[in-house]
């Protein structure tokens, strides 16, 4: 059976055409057949999933409504806590960590009938843009197994792209949902900051982190967002009001004002990507929207500001991994030695680099020039976006300046890797929603991602415009040739 649409799966389950157990078996069959090559998953939760599937089948048989995601297999990025199932952050530090609680989003998915099949690979502590910083496994891009899936939600993106699950959750601190979605040819949405609870998301940079869906279609992204968003008393930064997401998305583009961000339409962007984004802009113009180039000068400072603020927050967020209460502990009898070795052995090089950067940015004598200056520019950037949204309803850009790069291509050049986030960090710094969806393929057959950004809480508008684009094109739902072919359960 096809696993590319949550909507279809739920409909077929609800009417009794297929059982949750059959759906789940199909999902595991596909994972078993191809995850050796793709490496999307770190942990499979077969028993928990099967128990839930049986439970769903029983409840449906007794006439119960099992929810809008009933029977739908989902993959969860392994920085989201799952009660009783190890949650590693792809780090040696947490390789054996079993949380005694579910993340709020995990609980909400399950309450809506979703069945969690497993935990997906990521860059260690979500720090990276290729998933190569995982200490626990390598994930490959289903479109070209020699290339990266993007990151840090690379496992989630690859799992959806490979048709193992129709939907997955990721987290996005500077592009970690959208960039892998773009590189793997799926839809990825980073919601407005505070729209989705962060409780149970293992923090990288608290003021930027946001959980969101990676899906095969825009409609499924909306469906997942409806389930996971909304206020959470356990997260003080979750917004008090729920997102207004109509049951039927408005697909009309008439009178929509679209801005093409000039700073992200330059020679720094791969020509084929640039051309694809231009074609998308032209399509918007043809479809009734007005399209203009718009300059947001603060975007150019985005990467610098992002790496000051994100690393500063990370340096504090990762201080708790000291070997005292949980996780990896080095075998040393003196306190200082235990601290030092635990953190030396438990963290990988990129995590250490960022802890060092962040500690520096907050240190006496550098705070004003680094962290404080970063906050200042961050508010400038926010103002730039606000000004932009007075004139435009939506902003367009490429999601990533290039399509999937080769495994190993950038691992020795952290700065080049950081620049992969140039188009995406702005939305996190401004706290606004942003969505990536496929808008074409390059000459190598690799998917290209189009990014749509809107003002805070404009998810309905973003999803509506994306839906219209998706319906008018046939980029969605394609399965990569590299791993194509039906698999029987």
């Amino acid at each position: 059976m096809s696993l590319d649409s949550a909507r279809q799966i739920q409909a077929r389950f609800a009417c009794g055409e297929v059982s949750a157990q059959e759906i789940l078996e199909a999902s595991f069959a596909r994972i078993d057949a191809m995850d050796d090559r793709v490496g999307a998953f770190l942990t499979l939760m077969r028993d928990r999933a099967m128990t839930r599937a049986r439970d769903l089948d029983r409840r449906r048989a007794s006439g119960e409504d099992c929810g809008v995601l009933a029977g739908v297999p989902v993959a969860i990025k392994d920085n989201l806590c799952t009660r009783g199932a190890r949650t590693t952050c792809a780090s040696r530090m947490l390789a054996d960590f079993i949380p005694p609680y579910d993340a709020t989003v995990v609980g909400r998915l399950e309450a809506a009938g979703a069945v969690i099949v497993g935990k997906t690979n990521l860059d260690e502590f979500a720090m990276g843009s290729s998933t190569e910083n995982s200490a626990l496994g390598r994930t490959r891009n289903p479109w070209d197994l020699g290339r990266v899936p993007g990151g840090s939600s690379g496992g989630s993106a690859a799992a959806v792209a490979a048709g193992m699950v129709p939907i997955a959750l990721g987290s996005d601190t500077g592009g970690s949902i959208r960039q892998p979605a773009a590189l793997c040819g799926v839809v990825g949405l980073k919601p407005t900051y505070g729209a989705v609870s962060r409780y149970g998301l293992i923090a990288f940079a608290s003021s930027l982190d946001q959980v969101g869906p990676l899906t095969g279609s825009v409609e499924d992204a909306a469906r997942v967002l409806r389930v996971i968003s909304g206020p959470d008393p356990r997260d003080s930064t979750s917004l008090p009001q729920a997102l207004a997401l109509p049951e039927r998305l408005e697909g009309s583009l008439r009178s929509l004002r679209v801005g093409l961000i000039a700073e992200l339409d330059t020679d720094g962007v791969d020509p084929e990507t640039r051309a694809a984004v231009q074609r998308a802009a032209d399509w918007f113009a043809r479809s009734g929207a007005s399209v203009e180039r718009v300059s947001l000068p603060a975007i150019d400072h985005g990467i610098a500001v992002y790496y000051l603020i994100a690393t500063a927050e990370a340096s504090a967020n990762l201080a708790r991994y000291d070997g005292v209460r949980y996780g990896w502990r080095a075998d040393r009898s003196d306190l200082l030695g235990m601290y030092r070795q635990t953190r030396d052995q438990g963290f990988g090089p990129e995590v250490k680099r960022r802890i060092m950067l962040g500690t520096y940015a907050l240190s006496a004598g550098y705070y004003e020039a680094c962290y404080q200056q970063g906050q200042l520019v961050r508010s400038r950037l926010r103002q730039d976006f606000e000004a932009g949204f007075e004139r435009f309803d939506l902003l367009l850009s490429p999601t990533s300046p290039q399509t999937a790069f080769a495994l190993g291509e950038k691992v020795d050049d952290p700065l080049a890797m950081y620049l992969a986030d140039v188009a995406t960090v702005g939305a996190n710094l401004a706290g606004i929603p942003a969505l990536s969806l496929p808008c074409g393929f390059d000459s190598r057959g690799l998917p290209i991602g189009l990014q749509l950004m809107g003002p805070a809480l404009s998810e309905a508008r973003l999803l509506g415009a994306a839906l219209a684009f998706e319906h008018a094109h046939d980029y969605a739902g394609r399965l990569p040739a590299a791993i194509a072919g039906p698999v029987q359960p």
């Binding site: 608290s206 003080s236 500063a312 000291d322 005292v324 240190s363």
Partner: protein, 485 residues
């Protein structure tokens, strides 16, 4: 002890008060003392990955109340910050505190030292979470311990940090400030005042400078001051020590010192590995705290009467400032006074009874008023009986002992114990004549001019009447009778 005239001490106090909220500051765990180790702990206060803090509104309310009681400005908007440092009792590797935007600033506390009232400025009041506790095995401290156990019951217990201005000039004044602050927190019901248990802690910043000099000397921070007495002694020691160092041409080192009650000295703590840089930055997991004026007004309206106001009111009722002070400093006496005085025309007499006889009874029995069936209204009635001369003071003391421990109506006790005043002149004269007959020798001494024996004879009469006769009346009748002999 006092400083030599050429030096002046400059002292500021930093007080940490654990708040008496039912739950911790950022999670739902019980905030209490004495549970089994690591039983009042959840993933949030243990700093587990992915957990988030949620601010306890009661903590803010207590902070506002304390700020108002200290005449502070309450910030309409403030925030929390992360204070970063590694220690095994600090689960997140940072403490959530308030750095540059405390909830309350610029207040003062009036402090009485030897009849003079001075005003000690309150620099700031801020909210923060407490750390856990380390239990060292094999040694008294971390140094030399075989291993250490971590107890996180206290991690996340809410604290108020109250920082004074360096306005204090003597150890007596420091003690008085601390005592008054403790009383204030007790009166507000935000802290239990137990310095010995560590729920109210105090650090003193002490420096000295040549008298008349404006700039401050190098200060030391003295910790481990877990009683008012230790506080005063440690400050005295530290002042003397610094003066000695300076007089000998040395320099005071800026350092943290601990008071040793055993050795009666302060000593330098093991110096830290490096100068501490806490790398404060705004806590991104908590939104800025907005306090609207309506909330403040509501809290102000619900505040109990504060000690200073209470003292003034008692003085207005006719009490001496000493009496008012004694009653208010022991909150439960003041409460008993208020209840009794309401039902009596003799407030000053009630105060005297509370301060002298009731206090003596309590001390003798090591009792607390709250533990007894004592009813203040009964004290009011007893005082009425004394003041209207229905019973004597001596009889009243006997009634009081029963009244305090049995909680009975004094009039009933007087009847039961047969202690009604004996005011009948004829009956007293009869007793007096009998006594004089029995003490011919003393009567002769009186006649020879030794008038002192009147006291002895009065005592005999009082004993005969079991204290029920009024001494003045007995005296007058006795002198009459002696004159007739």
């Amino acid at each position: 002890m006092s400083t030599t005239p050429t030096y002046e001490a400059v002292i500021g106090l930093e007080v940490h008060a654990e708040l008496l909220t039912a739950t911790k500051i950022f999670c739902g765990c019980a905030a209490r003392f004495g549970s089994e180790p690591n039983t009042d702990v959840c993933p949030v206060c243990a700093g587990f990955p992915g957990t988030l803090p949620v601010l306890n509104g009661k903590v803010v309310e207590f902070a506002i109340m304390t700020g108002l009681a200290l005449h502070c400005d309450i910030a309409p908007r403030c925030k929390f910050d992360r204070k970063n440092y590694f220690y095994p009792d600090l689960p997140k590797g940072y403490q959530i505190s308030q750095y540059d935007q405390p909830i309350a600033t610029k207040g003062f506390l009036e402090v009485r030292v030897a009849d003079a009232t001075t005003r000690v400025g309150v620099h700031r009041v801020h909210m923060e979470e407490d750390a856990g506790k380390l239990v060292h095995v094999g040694a008294a401290g971390l140094a030399g311990a075989e291993y250490s156990l971590v107890d996180l019951n206290r991690a996340g217990v809410p604290l108020l940090e109250i920082v004074s201005e360096p306005d204090i000039r003597s150890s007596e004044e420091a003690r008085a400030y601390m005592a008054e602050l403790r009383l204030l927190l007790l009166t507000l019901g935000v802290n239990d005042g137990r310095m010995e248990e560590g729920s109210l802690r105090c650090d003193a910043n002490v420096s000295v400078r040549p008298a008349g000099r404006a700039e401050l000397g190098t200060r030391t921070e003295v910790k481990n001051l877990n009683s008012l007495r230790f506080l005063q002694k440690a400050i005295d020691f530290e002042i003397e020590r610094q003066i000695r160092v300076l007089s000998e041409g040395g320099a005071v080192l800026q350092e943290t010192r601990l008071w040793s009650e055993e050795r009666q000295v302060t000593y330098a703590m093991r110096s830290k590995e490096e100068a501490s840089d806490y790398r404060y930055f705004p806590e991104p997991d908590l939104s800025p705290l907005v306090i609207d004026s309506g909330w403040i007004a509501d809290i102000r309206a619900r505040m109990p009467e504060l000690p200073a106001a209470r003292r003034t009111r008692l003085v207005d009722l006719g009490l001496s400032s000493y009496e008012a002070g004694v009653l208010v400093d022991q909150g439960e006496l003041a409460a008993a006074f208020d209840a009794a005085a309401k039902a009596s025309a003799y407030p000053r007499a009630i105060a005297t009874w509370l301060i002298k006889d009731v206090t003596r009874l309590l001390n003798e029995g090591k009792l607390r008023l709250a533990e007894l069936p004592f009813q203040p209204e009964h004290l009011a009635r007893l005082v009425d009986l004394v003041e209207t001369r229905a019973i004597t003071v001596a009889a009243a003391r006997q009634v009081l002992a029963a009244l305090v421990t049995e909680g009975k109506d004094p009039a009933a006790l007087v009847a039961e114990m047969g202690l009604a005043a004996m005011a009948d002149d004829a009956a007293l004269r009869e007793i007096i004549e009998r006594i004089l007959d029995a003490h011919q020798a003393q009567v002769a001494e009186f006649k020879a001019g030794k008038t002192k024996v009147v006291g002895f004879l009065t005592g005999q009469v009082m004993r005969q009447t079991q204290g029920r006769a009024q001494p003045q009346q007995v005296n007058a009748l006795l002198e009459e009778a002696l004159a007739r002999r």
